[in-house]
């Protein structure tokens, strides 16, 4: 190989590498947690009473959120935000699904859960399980939940996480959305994830 040619290659190589990194330079609005947490997996019951596992939700981008149906302020806002963000995808909305895991199985029976989730968006699935099953999935995603003392009407508050975990179509963890992201930002991140997964 002649000397000038070698020089040319040496000079072009960094440019080429720069080109590669340019493609990945999309700035996620959410936290990038690729490879940080384990793949989507759980054993729960859906809002039709069917026993399901994480494998049943492969093939689509999956957003998972932990909450409870009697939650008055936080959960409806977050679920509403996710539903709007997914609607913002237009025709691609069916490439995304939302899993709402209720950590309050005592109040959130299959029926309660089903009536609750159907108000938001068709892409939303309600899930819950026994305390053991819920401990398993919350421990896997390092989220906590606890029950406060009931008031005179028997109503009790459930402390739960505010995170939305986003998984790729193969169930790999990709993003963590916290309460800072706006609906448009979530839509943009989802669009980018869909683009990546159709490559």
């Amino acid at each position: 190989m002649s000397r000038p040619l070698r020089h040319l290659i040496l000079w072009l190589l960094p440019l080429f590498l720069l080109g590669c990194s340019g493609e990945a330079s999309y700035q996620w609005n959410a936290h990038d947690i690729t490879g940080v947490m384990p793949d989507l997996q759980f054993h729960l019951t859906d809002d039709h009473g069917e026993e399901v596992t994480g494998d049943d939700y492969r093939g689509k981008i999956t957003m998972m959120y932990f909450g409870y149906a009697s939650c008055q302020h936080v959960c409806p806002v977050v679920l509403g935000k996710m539903a709007t963000a997914v609607r913002g995808l237009g025709d691609d909305a069916d490439k995304v699904q939302i899993l709402f895991v209720s950590v309050d199985p005592k109040r959130d029976t299959t029926e309660v859960l089903h009536n609750y989730v159907k108000h938001f968006t068709p892409e939303l699935v309600g899930l819950t399980g026994t305390q053991d099953q819920l401990h398993e999935v919350t421990k896997r995603y390092r989220v906590g939940y606890s029950y406060e003392e009931p008031n005179d009407n028997g109503f009790y508050v459930v402390n739960h996480s505010s995170a939305v975990f986003v998984f790729g179509p193969q169930g790999k963890t990709r993003l963590l959305i916290d309460s800072q992201e706006t609906t448009d930002e979530i839509t943009a991140d989802l669009e980018h994830l869909i683009e990546q997964s159709t490559d």
Partner: protein
């Protein structure tokens, strides 16, 4: 509440949240060695009590439901690190367990594993380097700062291997630091470093801890969003949780320096009165 429910709850609390065979092996291994060593060489009851409390403290904060709360409350996380990095290693190191643990080692392990490791020049140099008081002090403070960088803290709380690295790192570094402080005649070190130098280092590590602790305790916004993200399980308001965590980083942590200095001063005084001059009470020359 009946006695059985109390018992059940206690047992439930004492069971590991996230069982780690490595932590169990390390704790049970050290306990067996120490027990065996004591039966051979004896020693004062005070030292044994400090060793056992230190070892038990490390086990409890790592391998009970305590760890669950430490993952979901900044305050509990800081208490966990206070025990791992300050209290427990302080007690273990001040009890000077090296001779007892050595006596507890089965002959074979001692001859074929520990001795070659001790004679290994690379390990020897490395150990010597990290046991330099200023280096040990810098690592001690550096680790506290490193894991409290909000973005680092964020991933440490989400990623299990990183979380375990953080806790193991705190425990090991705590042992190394307090070992340096109290173990005046470190095996394999030719220079018996004098008390004054260690007192200065104890004094120096106090300030950065006060600064970061006060900064967190007095911060007016949530610095560690990860706890909201992962769900808080204690009935503490977010800012109270953070302020308490800051106070734990600030006051008891810095007070451990004072406690360490007191121990050193008492020992120094005793040594002077016994007329047993160290090979180098005032410097490095032997």
């Amino acid at each position: 509440m009946t006695l059985t429910t109390i018992l059940e709850q206690t047992v439930a609390f004492l069971l590991p949240y996230d069982f780690s065979p490595t932590v169990l092996l390390a704790c049970v291994g050290s306990a067996l060695l120490y027990h065996r060593g004591r039966r051979r060489v004896g020693g004062g009851p005070g030292q044994a009590v400090m060793f056992w409390i230190g070892l038990l403290g490390m086990y409890v904060v790592l391998q009970t439901q305590f760890d669950y709360y430490a993952q979901h409350s900044f305050f509990m996380h800081r208490v966990q690190h206070l025990v791992l990095h300050h209290l427990a290693p302080f007690l273990i190191a001040v009890s000077a367990p090296a001779a007892v643990l050595g006596a507890g080692l089965p002959e074979g392990i001692h001859r074929y594993l520990v001795e070659p490791l001790r004679r290994n020049p690379v390990l020897h140099r490395l150990y010597w380097a990290v046991q330099q008081p200023l280096v040990a002090g810098a690592i001690f403070v550096g680790l506290i700062y490193l894991w409290l960088i909000p973005s680092v803290h964020f991933y440490a709380m989400l990623n299990v291997p990183l979380y375990n690295t953080m806790n193991w790192g705190m425990a090991i570094d705590g042992l190394l630091f307090w070992w340096m402080v109290f173990n005046l005649r470190a095996p394999g070190t030719s220079d018996a470093r004098h008390y004054g130098y260690r007192l200065v280092v104890l004094f120096l590590v106090m300030f950065p801890q006060v600064v970061i602790g006060a900064y967190i305790a007095l911060a007016e916004h949530d610095l560690f969003g990860i706890y909201a993200v992962c769900g808080r399980v204690l009935p503490l308001a977010p800012m109270t949780d953070q302020a308490l965590g800051g106070l734990v980083t600030w006051i008891p942590a810095a007070m451990m320096s004072i406690a360490g200095a007191l121990v050193l001063l008492v020992r120094w005084n005793r040594q002077n009165r016994q007329g047993d001059p160290l090979p180098s009470t005032l410097g490095y020359a032997r």
